[in-house]
């Protein structure tokens, strides 16, 4: 048969709809081809024009983000962002989601998520040196949630531990909106010699296109959209597993072989195979280089017999790489791959015609302009509309309380603090991160558990500091603010160690973009993200968009997950959040502002505050972070902790627990005790310094124009915060006592609540069975 024979009935067959393409999209394909696509071509378009590959809804938004900055060597559009860190070295980093696969099969979904993001890193020529995982689930008491948590954590560990990349941080959040749709975002960081920076391009017509790594099977076909079509073509869909299984051992070999190929200058371009498989890897590399690629279908090594052409072309089998190789380098490339036990196949060659063409046994099965599949894919202008009510109103029947009144109502703030610090979202994540190898590589300076992760750059005094944060609770109320707060928190976590944030990667987890409200949330979040990054002077060097995060009847809270990597030139200047020495002076920098909506306190109190979330002043945030870095650089700081979830009280408690020492503070307050102690207004840090440096520290803060207050000292085995001043007196005096305005808890009690909270929330041992892994 001649594959390109005209099939004018394509639209009538409705095949495109089965493949998830709209009539409008089919017309757009026709206009790009000047004819009807055949079945194979249609399958290729259907994966490449999926939201996942084409960003057809989000592209116009993402274009508004700031992407340039000093030292940016690669930005969005490459597999990962790359930023110079001096001395000829650079860091590559990127975050990506694997929400849907993890919802179906948590272990393999999470595992292959780690595998995919690692490939994005070493494709750039960087050796992966760290992973962070940002996880979100529904109710921790629910058995299904426990099953998902267990599987996802095992999957992240099962993969990362085996490939030998330490998992050094992340976050774990429970929120009812993720009940039917968990969010699994994984960030990876790599280190490279600038000269070895490699791009995913297919230059030089005549060069060979080489596939190495695992063989191609039927797995993951339709990870994009083809699965929706049970009857697609003649392929036997019953044979097609819906779940991709990861092989971290193969990935480890891929890392070593790929880096060796790059180091020896044997390849012209390198691309990993992810969504869209061979179709995506070939069309993207060709498009970036302005070339074409001719693929010989029969040359692609398969794991199974009788695979249909479309199965081979869009299979998402894991652990595969595509290299563009000069013919005279082929033998050397083969030698490297085979030494690492990896099958190698020449599957095509680079052409000058700009087309992705697929041939088999002399016949041409498909011919499509590469750019039609990639940079010239369809773009949709979606409708955005804010929800009718922007603020979270209390649910019907729930009594409306002034939620910040809790302590005034006679409740001991110490009890509130214990409840907060032992709550599912704020307690220690030890149960999670002990399942991850966090020190393989012998570079982990600060392992998971106490703020931002710190990994050294071997052979230098430099360290990289990384944090992944996303604020879904404020995003649910105000997506632009939520995204900006996420950027502020992630960068602040980095800055308080003394490190300078280098750039931002982000993963936008949102609902169905064809719903105007969901698209409004997405566009607002992108606006907030862009504003925050511009204010902080940071480029967005990459990221990932995950849409359609909805289960029947409900979308997840908008979740802008922000990954930040920072650089500290001198390890000896690294600042920890743990209180250090008795007698150190405690200083609070930054100003509290009212607003409890979206706070952990509001969740605990079970009320929906009507006052809205606290405001974010980006200029103040930028000044605060610049100040903390300067103070750290001048060695004025003994410890630095930022105020985030749980507010000031939780920040202090963490410093006390981690430092195994208490503190005594007298806090003049102007707001209610709840706002002062548990409010989450941003741009605040708690610093300590030796008495000798305290004055200089306070002076420096003033020079940066920041509100600063010396509030107490480190010491003892209790955390004591006395509230004084206007805000404190009223309520307390009514009760005839000042004591209720003091928080006073033994550090050991705080530590106990913090240590056991998560395991208790998950019911001791999550009850999923640990059978399914290798």
């Amino acid at each position: 048969m001649t594959a390109l024979e005209e099939r004018p009935e394509v639209a009538d067959l409705g095949l495109h709809r089965q493949l998830g393409l709209t009539d409008e999209e089919l017309d757009a394909i026709r206009s790009r081809l000047g004819r009807d696509p055949n079945d194979l071509e249609l399958a290729m378009f259907s994966v490449m024009w999926s939201e996942h590959c084409s960003y057809k809804s989000s592209r116009p938004l993402l274009r508004t983000l700031p992407t340039s900055g000093a030292g940016v060597l690669a930005g969005p559009g490459e597999n990962a962002g790359v930023i110079s860190i001096g001395d000829g070295l650079a860091v590559a980093f990127k975050i990506e989601s694997h929400n849907h696969p993890s919802a179906v099969e948590p272990y393999q979904g999470a595992a292959t998520g780690v595998g995919g993001i690692l490939r994005d890193i070493f494709t750039m020529g960087a050796r992966p040196i760290a992973v962070l995982d940002a996880l979100r689930f529904g109710d921790p008491a629910d058995p299904w949630t426990r099953h998902l948590v267990d599987g996802v954590v095992r999957g992240v560990g099962g993969y990362g531990n085996c490939v030998g990349v330490p998992t050094v941080g992340g976050e774990l959040v429970f929120d009812p909106s993720y009940q039917g749709n968990p969010a699994v975002n994984v960030m990876a960081i790599g280190l490279l010699d600038e000269r070895l920076l490699t791009r995913a391009v297919a230059p030089g017509p005549g060069n060979l296109v080489v596939l190495f790594g695992s063989t191609t099977g039927r797995d993951g076909i339709g990870g994009a959209s083809v699965l929706a079509s049970a009857t697609f073509l003649d392929g036997d869909s019953s044979k097609r597993p819906s779940v991709q299984v990861g092989d971290p051992f193969a990935e480890k070999l891929l890392i070593e072989a790929s880096l060796e190929l790059i180091e020896h200058g044997l390849i012209e371009g390198l691309q990993d195979l992810g969504a869209g498989g061979v179709t995506c890897a070939t069309s993207e590399t060709a498009d970036r280089a302005g070339t074409g690629i001719l693929v010989d279908l029969e040359a692609i090594p398969r794991r199974e017999p009788d695979m249909a052409p479309f199965e081979v072309m869009i299979s998402e089998s894991q652990e595969r790489m595509l290299a563009v190789v000069r013919p005279d380098h082929l033998d050397a490339v083969r030698e490297v791959c085979e030494r690492w036990g990896l099958p190698v196949a020449v599957i095509g060659r680079v052409t000058a015609d700009g087309d992705l063409a697929v041939v088999s046994r002399g016949g041409e099965l498909a011919r499509v302009p590469a750019r039609a599949l990639t940079s010239d894919a369809i773009v949709h202008e979606r409708l955005a509309a804010p929800p009718a009510r922007r603020r979270l109103a209390p649910a019907p029947g729930v009594p409306v309380l002034p939620s910040d009144a809790l302590p005034e109502r006679g409740m001991d703030p110490g009890a509130v603090l214990l409840a907060l610090i032992g709550s599912p979202n704020l307690s220690s994540r030890r149960w999670v991160y002990e399942q991850y190898d966090s020190n393989v590589g012998a570079n982990t300076i600060v392992p998971p558990g106490t703020g931002a992760a710190v990994v050294r750059v071997r052979g230098t005094s430099k360290v990289l500091v990384a944090s992944a944060d996303g604020n879904q609770s404020v995003s649910a109320i105000d997506p632009a603010l939520g995204a900006a707060l996420s950027v502020a928190e992630a960068t602040r976590n980095v800055s308080i160690t003394g490190a300078r944030p280098l750039g931002v990667t982000n993963c936008l987890n949102f609902g169905d973009p064809t719903r105007p409200e969901a698209f409004w949330q997405l566009s607002e979040a992108v606006r907030g993200l862009g504003d925050a990054c511009r204010a902080l002077g940071l480029p967005v060097t990459g990221g990932n968009v995950s849409l359609y995060n909805e289960s029947p009847g409900r979308a997840i809270a908008p979740t802008p997950e922000i990954g930040v990597v920072g650089l500290l030139e001198d390890l000896s200047k690294l600042v920890s959040p743990a209180f250090r020495t008795a007698g150190d002076v405690v200083v609070i920098v930054g100003q509290v502002s009212p607003g409890l909506a979206g706070s952990a306190y509001a969740t605990l109190a079970g009320v929906a505050p009507e006052d809205g979330p606290p405001a974010l002043d980006l200029a103040a945030e930028a000044a605060l972070q610049a100040f903390v870095r300067e103070a750290a650089d001048r060695s004025l700081v003994a410890s630095a902790q930022d105020v985030s979830a749980g507010g000031l009280a939780v920040a202090l408690a963490e410093s006390a627990i981690w430092g195994e020492i208490g503190g005594h503070l007298r806090l003049p307050i102007g707001n209610s005790p709840a706002v002062e102690l548990f409010g989450e207004s941003p741009s605040r840090v708690v610093l300590t310094s030796t008495p000798r440096h305290a004055a200089a520290l306070v002076l420096l803060a003033r020079q940066f124009g920041l509100p600063v207050e010396q509030v107490g000292v480190v010491g003892g085995d209790r955390l004591i915060v006395e509230l004084t001043g206007a805000g404190a007196t009223g309520a307390a005096e009514e009760r005839g006592s000042r004591v209720a305005d003091a928080l006073d808890v033994p550090v050991s009690h705080l530590a106990h609540a913090w240590e056991h909270g998560l395991v208790r929330a998950l019911g001791q041992e999550p009850d999923a069975l640990p059978l399914g892994e290798g």
Partner: protein, 102 residues
């Protein structure tokens, strides 16, 4: 209560056809080092042996079926089969070749 009898079963869980089996591949890859050849299609799965107290074999098998489908296997990637093995299996010798008992 009615009296019950003990029935011993094995549940064999194997990766479904088409599902990548990295363990099986690793075994195949190592055969050369062992000086063995002519071995292929290696699939590595799990075998769970257990005893069920039930009124009769049919009832026992029903329990095992439920256990196998809900707990012991992951239906997305694994297939299972239930095998009656009799009580003797727990007393068998080490590594002795033995035909499976029906």
């Amino acid at each position: 209560m009615s009296p019950t009898t003990s029935f011993r079963f094995a549940v064999n869980v194997t990766p479904k056809p088409g599902i990548l089996d990295p363990q099986g591949r690793a075994v195949e890859g190592s055969l050369g080092h062992l000086g063995l050849s002519g071995i292929h299609d290696v699939r590595v799965g799990r075998r769970v042996e257990l005893t069920v107290e039930a009124a009769g074999e049919a009832a026992a098998r029903e329990v095992v079926e439920r256990l196998a489908s809900e707990l012991l296997s992951n239906p997305l990637i694994e297939a299972y089969e239930v095998e009656a093995i009799g009580a003797a299996s727990s007393a068998r010798g080490d590594g002795a070749a033995r035909e499976a008992r029906a």
